[in-house]
Amino acid sequence: MTKSIFLVVKANFRQRKIQQLLVGISIALSALLFASGIGILESIGQPFDKVFNKLKGSHIFLYFDERTEDYKKISSWFRQQPEVERVSEPSAYIMINGPLIFKGEKIDVMVQLTEYTKDHLQQDQVFVLNGAKKQYPGYGEIWLPNSLASNHNIHPGDTIGIPVGTGLQQMIVSATVVDPHYSSGVINPTRAWITEGSLPLFKPVLELNNDMLGIRIKDPSLIGAVWQRFNDQYHYTGSNLQYDLFRSSFLATYTVIGSVLLIFSVVGILVAMFLISTTISSNISSDYKLIGVMKAQGFTPANVIFIFVLQYFLLSLIFIPIGLLGSFLVIKVLFASLIKSIGITDLDFNLFAPFISASIVVLSVALFVSWYCGRKAAKIKPAKAIRDGGAEKKEVNKKPPYFPAKLSWPLPALLGIHFLLINRRRTWISFAGLLFAVFILVFSMNISNSFTKLKYNKAAWGFDNGNIQLSILKGRLLHEQFMESILQEKGIRSVMPYSFHGMTILSEKGKPVQEIYGKSFDGNIDSAGLINLVGRHPNAAHEISICIGTSEKYHKRPGDSITVFIEGQQETFFITGIYQDVSNLGQGFRLHASAIKNINPIYKPASYSLRVQPGIDVEEYKKYINHLFGGTINIESGIEDTIAVTSVVGSMRASLLLLAIFFVVVMVINIWNDMAMNIREYRKSFGIFKTLGFTSRQLRAVLVWKTLWLLIAALLIGLPIGVWLSPALMSMVTKNLGLVKFPYITDFPGTVLLIPIILFFGVMSAWFATRRTMLVNPRILIIE
């Protein structure tokens, strides 16, 4: 019997090659999307963990002032904890608040300049990616994290200027390194390494009071418990950086991509289920008599079901691996830049678990649907099937499907409507499939556009709206001089002086709980184009606005107060607003400069965000400003031009393109299959029409119109839903990135352009799929 079943399955494959191929492609695409989604989410941590463990990274970093904390006591406490693997020796560091200068351009980033010591060979090693493979940086040399170097095209051998007092300390970049803690490029500050004993080049010895201590935990899941115990037993006043933050920063973009793919893979699987079920139903109706004959010859109901199960098992066996191979390539391409940034040259992901999960899910779905739908065939009564050749007619529908006879539209258009209404259940399912396709195309188009147009919507991403960012070189130009000159420029619309700061949030008991970084603005923050989700900007010394991640983490809302350590002092601020910011994963703050001036009366900002008048060519104006102020300023490139941002935008666009292609293919398959089934089911009606004088072209037009009506309905509903729902959906995914309200920009021309594209693909699919109507022969109408 098994042999017979195999022969029937083989015949089915041979007889319906195209239909089986289309279902197979849908299975492959579902496996591709699902495996890519889980693969990315599951595997993205692997290269990071691999490098992190190889370099013996610390899970907790403590940053403190050695005058207020006794590092020996802290080290001793941690060493006694059973969960702790190792505690590092303290490393001295300083924070460079001013921008780095590279080839005359300003790199607006806070840098934690840290000494690389012998102890780093035991813990928190860095891995030299490019440059001389030495154990330590040499004197006068600096090691930069690869993310920072590649974002600004800095190569070993280049020289960078580090602001020191009133001038610049030139350092040779001898290597770019993998520093897992700062590998994401989205955490500000970042870290750079110099050789032991060279910090006095940057600060007087007496001011070198900052120490950093690394704690490596045996099992990262125990970090929380250790940290909780530490806070309970020890009054720590410094700040810290923990594994979860730097790991999730590194994974953030890919987590979003993986989540998007995974969400839509569920839709893909539903579509595959639908295709399999409709294909089986159509096969049963066209092979009704044959199934009856097979049962008459001794096939049991279980045998009949097994035919379908085996058929889709074999189809899955062929197409799931194809999908997985596609997924492997997708993951490889998406991860290429990522793994390079952490120094892995080969793709050594273990995708076994995600691929097995994807295979099991897709295969189970295919088997379940084929079993479920195959049961209809098992119920066929052989005698009736052989005698009547078809299923017993259901009770006649009292209300005939609508035919708009009085409309003066082309007859195929009218019949298209009529055919839509004959099998309403299938029409609804086809409509749902097309609606999903339209929705996802609109989603992909507009989310992709939102990333691409980041520079036109910077405020929503948490950046100010300045066209030009620059800094003045201390000792060469005073803040007041610069402001006086720049405000006289007719091309300038507004100037916002600002600076970076770090602050430590204190718990209600006064214990430090987290170090966060933010900016102070010297002026009306509204004029910098910055926006809040709720509340307003701070405009007084005691006011602060906090980022959404900080707000949620500490349950702080506008009207609450927050106590922090900033510029060496404990301060309590009144929260005026909450904003979102993609940098630092939603952790941060904004202050009015008066707050800093209150603490440090001689404080002067050194960075400026300039907004030029409308119509001015920004690049030309940059050159003009550079010329105007000579060597006293440094102009930096805009956030949108950094490699970190362009690579994120590139990855997102590639993923969304993949998603769009998937659903266009699904749409084509959906239509093709629907047409194939229609031709079979309405063969007799088409034969009648042909006899009445319909040309083959007109018959094809009937089915094309049927598809067209569905497409028009899907577009009419899907386009607005897509435009309306996409930001909400994307916001759910980017919430953990600090974007609770995704900065969505509708691409109206692009969205409108989707209409002809979708109609073109839809109509072409229907047109080519209906070429078999030409073969319908009215001979079927004649009873011999």
Partner: protein, 251 residues
């Protein structure tokens, strides 16, 4: 005087090829069917009746030979031209009615009419008129499955006539009907013929065949013989004549 022909064939041949074997279903068939005539085609199974019907209605192209519908040549036309020709000049009535089950009976008529050259309102008028004439005026809003076989067949006749075809083809129109319904359908056809409609009907039924003016007897793809009835002869007599005539031809 010989009336003008509605169908004329010359050396008509139709060969079906299956793999390497070829079967000639219509072999050098010559025939003329006249305008206004009610022509019956009879023959045993496999004699080529249905294939001849296909050929003379333009549903299939002949392998060889020529066919004229009225003065219009059907041979050598492409599929699209044949479809247009069928639309404007030929009406079909089938044994199992072949109405589109999802459309109401009236819509079945309208669909055929909308294909033609008349305006949509004219088609609706004509459909109403035909339904009235055929005694089915009150059933138009129903689905085919909601009326009897005889009523369905009358709707099929109305559909066939909606575009005022030159020729009405009926393939065993009473084959699925009881005798009462058959009578009604045949009465309809007879009435139409009386009004000048040319009709070709394929049938196995002796009684139905007697409604015609002339019977063509097909055997092995050729017109073996034909017989014409005198208008004055009663139905009973026609039946007897036809029966013995067919018997002689080994029907």
């Amino acid at each position: 005087m010989i009336p003008p022909t509605i169908i004329r064939t010359e050396n008509l041949r139709k060969v079906f090829k299956t793999g390497q074997s070829a079967t000639g279903v219509i072999n050098n068939l010559h025939c003329s069917i006249y305008k206004g005539e009610f022509t019956i085609i009879m023959g045993s199974s496999g004699s080529g009746k249905s294939t001849l019907l296909y050929l003379i209605s333009g549903l299939e192209n002949p392998t060889d030979g020529k066919i004229w519908l009225d003065t219009i040549p059907l041979h050598g036309r492409d599929e699209k031209n044949l479809a247009l020709l069928r639309r404007d000049h030929v009406g079909f009535v089938f044994q199992d009615y072949n109405l589109v089950q999802s459309l109401t009976l009236e819509e079945n008529i309208l669909i055929a009419g909308y294909l033609g050259k008349k305006s949509r309102s004219q088609v609706r008028e004509k459909a109403k008129e035909l339904m009235e004439t055929l005694g089915i005026g009150s059933l138009g809003k129903r689905l085919p499955s909601q009326v009897s076989g005889g009523e369905q067949q009358r709707f099929a006749i109305a559909r066939a006539l909606i575009n005022n075809p030159h020729l009405l083809m009926a393939d065993e129109p009473t084959g699925n009907l009881n005798s009462a319904s058959s009578e009604k359908v045949l009465d309809c056809l007879a009435e139409l013929n009386k009004a000048g409609q040319s009709i070709i009907m394929v049938t196995h039924d002796l009684k139905s065949a007697c409604r015609g003016d002339r019977v063509l007897f097909l055997k092995d793809g050729e017109v073996m013989d034909s017989i014409a009835f005198d208008k004055s002869v009663t139905m009973e007599e026609r039946e007897k004549i036809l029966f013995s005539w067919l018997k002689e031809r080994e029907w």
